[in-house]
Amino acid sequence: MKNSEKLRIPQSALSFLRSVAGAAGGLAIGLMICTIAGESPGKVLTVLVNSSFGSGYDFGMTLFYTSYFILTGLAVAIPFKSGLFNIGGEGQLTIGALAAAWAGVAGAGIESHALAILFATLAAFIAGGIWGAIPGYLKARRGSHEVITTIMMNFIAAGVTSYFTLYALKDPDSSQAETIPLSTVFQLKPFAVFNGAPMGGLIIALAVMTCVLHLVLRNSVWGYRLKATGENETAASTFGIAAPASWLSSMFVAGGIAGLTGLVEVLGNSHRFKIGFSSDYGFVGIAVALVARGNILGILPSAFLFGVLQKGAGSLDLETDKVTRDLTYIIQGLIILGVASDGIWDWFSSIWRKRNA
């Protein structure tokens, strides 16, 4: 398979509006599907919103999920620039999270909080980055399609992390499948306003990081190279921009950013690595990046939207009889389709013209 069809998305104001309308349409259809399960769409929407904004704790949890999706959204949006579709965020984030947990064990002697965080951040970024760079390398050197290799890397990551969790880093005092807990110097402090939700200054750091990335990708030589490769790799290579370098570097950075999920989950939340902590957060990143139309700054509001959806969906299990959190898969799929089916507008207008002709 080849990438003859470029992952290029127009970014005019009109296309942004279309994207919002598409996402809203996808969400609406997803809610309407709930009538099959005998729930009113209005009630499901109310549950989603109340559960996300109802209290300081609820909002903190919404931001907690948002911070996941900023990372996994960026992990899709950055390779997008160079024309690659990274659906390996799930594997990259599990590997990064495991590396953060490993850092806590390996760096048990570290006494400074700042040094501990720095060490864990580097470990998570590099481990996730290498996991992302492998499909990037295979694409660059062997032409293997990244969609297949990244999916395979997800399955391999699941196996590798569960091995380390059950054997090498296993917490001997726990009967659960989890690693040795981190000492307090490695733990991130949550804000008190969130009433116990595991979210603190990290969300601000991630927002700043996103803005910096936006500037870097827009103004730096590296950003220019990625974009040139993404738009036309043959033309780019005649100007001396090698596609393999763009692919490898964008996948390394993307994997590294996905790996930073280790900060959110391991340092910020459970203070250890638990098998299966991520309920497909890596895949949500695809929807996040598409709704943002690959725009780096757009990732922030988009991630927030999916944070609301994720937090709200957890309450569906309790507050409705037949609709469960699995509805989010359906809604995410429909939202992506709503955004990706740009031709629907031309299609509508052609029907309109036919009718009025």
């Binding site: 395979m152 699941a158 196996g159 992506i336 740009d342």
Partner: protein
Amino acid sequence: MLETLFSNWILPTLRVSTPLIFAALGGMWCERSGVIQIGLEGIMLVGAFFAAVVTHSTQSPWWGLVAGMLAGLMLSLGYGFTVLKLKANQIVSGTAFNLFAMGIPPFLSMIWFDSTGSTPVIPGESLFRSAPLFLMGAVVIASAILYHHTKFGLRIRFAGEHPKALESSGISVRGKRWQGIALSGLLAGLGGATLSIYLASSFSRNMSSGRGFIALAAVILGRWLPLQTVTACLLFGLTELAQIRLQGVVLWGDQAVPVQWIQILPYLITILVLALAMGRTRAPKGLGGGE
């Protein structure tokens, strides 16, 4: 000797390869017509679910098979609508359908069985013994003949290879692509059905576990040709069998190889094979492009 080889390795390899072969041939037809089919995974999953549900309620695996195919067809037609009519990016839309398909089984199974996990176990007498194997053989032969010796096969190939030439001879490229997409839905749905009512006795959560993507890798490895694709599927099937057989086996020292290392084997080999085979394969020229 020959008999034990057959019953211990050849037959089991054919069995575990069956879902892959159906799905991969579906993927081959779709991609030959010029449309990328990332959505095989989701189609298999939904096919497996509906096959299990219908077999459970009718106690007839044949109805289950039909249900799996129809469910796959519906999903693939939805995909066709978004990429052929609405001009959605094929990889993005295929991924969306995969996500969508992940949500369907738990959503419906909660309504019907009050559980988001497995569907009720189907009693042994309502499951297939070996009929899917013969069906698979028939589909392989039919695909090879259709591909190499019929007008239908030629036109599908032209739709993916030289869409303009086909169009100028008065045949609708889009029509051929609809046919390719529909075939991928029917066949991948059938492949999914064999997962739940032939290789297992119920549907379990996310039971396709990457097989749709492995099938796609088989298509690439098989250079988009029917018999070569089937051969690649058999290779992946053999890997899967080895993965099952190696669990708990002591290879060195006195400890069994940790099951996690063995479970990643099929995925690892898929990547390795793709990396080694690429460069020597060529995709249909018009794959992923317009008409």
